[in-house]
Amino acid sequence: MPHELEHLEAACQDEELTETLRRVSAEVMETMFFSEAVPVDCEHDWLAGAASVRVDFDGSHSGQMWLALSREAIPAIAGAFLGLDPDEAAAEQRSQVILELGNILCGAILSSLWPESQLQLDPPALTAWECTSEGVWHVCLALEEGLLAISIRLSGVKQTC
């Protein structure tokens, strides 16, 4: 295949994957966290103060997913998931909801990207946002309150028979 066509094909595939990332994330937020999630342009000043989760995955595909939730989004998301008023959820419950959000998003996105895959997800971990933009599919979404950023880095694909 000519070099230019290879580049074009890769760019189309990246756009398709990013669109899947947007669609599945919005579906998860609406269905299980009762919040609308709309794609927005990336402005990442808020990431330094955000709550961040990392999920490593392995199997036919390996890599990492990072999720960041801006501080103002946390009470609303935790409250919606638990059926409580935003201020009612305890700090421990908020942390558990953020981890569950990372788990659900990672599983739903990866299954949607690669439905024939065999994947094993590590337990999500609260961590500092450390994902650089290199080799990453990324979306930023505006929630009813606050912002959500998701990045996926694929580090390997194993050939299966």
Binding site: V28, Q96, N103, A108, S111, S112, P115, E116
Partner: protein, 131 residues
Amino acid sequence: MAYSVLVVDDSPVMRSFIRRVMCLSGFELGQCWEACNGEEALAQLKEHTVDVILTDINMPKMNGEEFLKRLEQEGTLRSVPKLVISTDATKNRILRMLSLGADGYMTKPFSPESLREELERILGARNASRT
């Protein structure tokens, strides 16, 4: 008729969510027991009779696969309907869990309505096979 349910998941907020969604959906929920892994679930099942089991897959101590295998080996528990709830929507995983004895498989995200419909389907199928 209100159904007694056992929810097995290592995340306390997920167990709470499932319980709430069953109520919101209009599912006729009676007693709702909880366990954080397969081992604890087996202990709960020695103490309580349940109409349906909802279980996660990735859990410490005894995961969902091992839990289903153990249920298949237990005479009385084998016939209890089992619904797997997981983030993993890959075909291989779904087929694997169904082959181990699961009666249904729901992937997250799911709506209250879809959970109720799936519960009613597996409970209806099991009740129909008893008559």
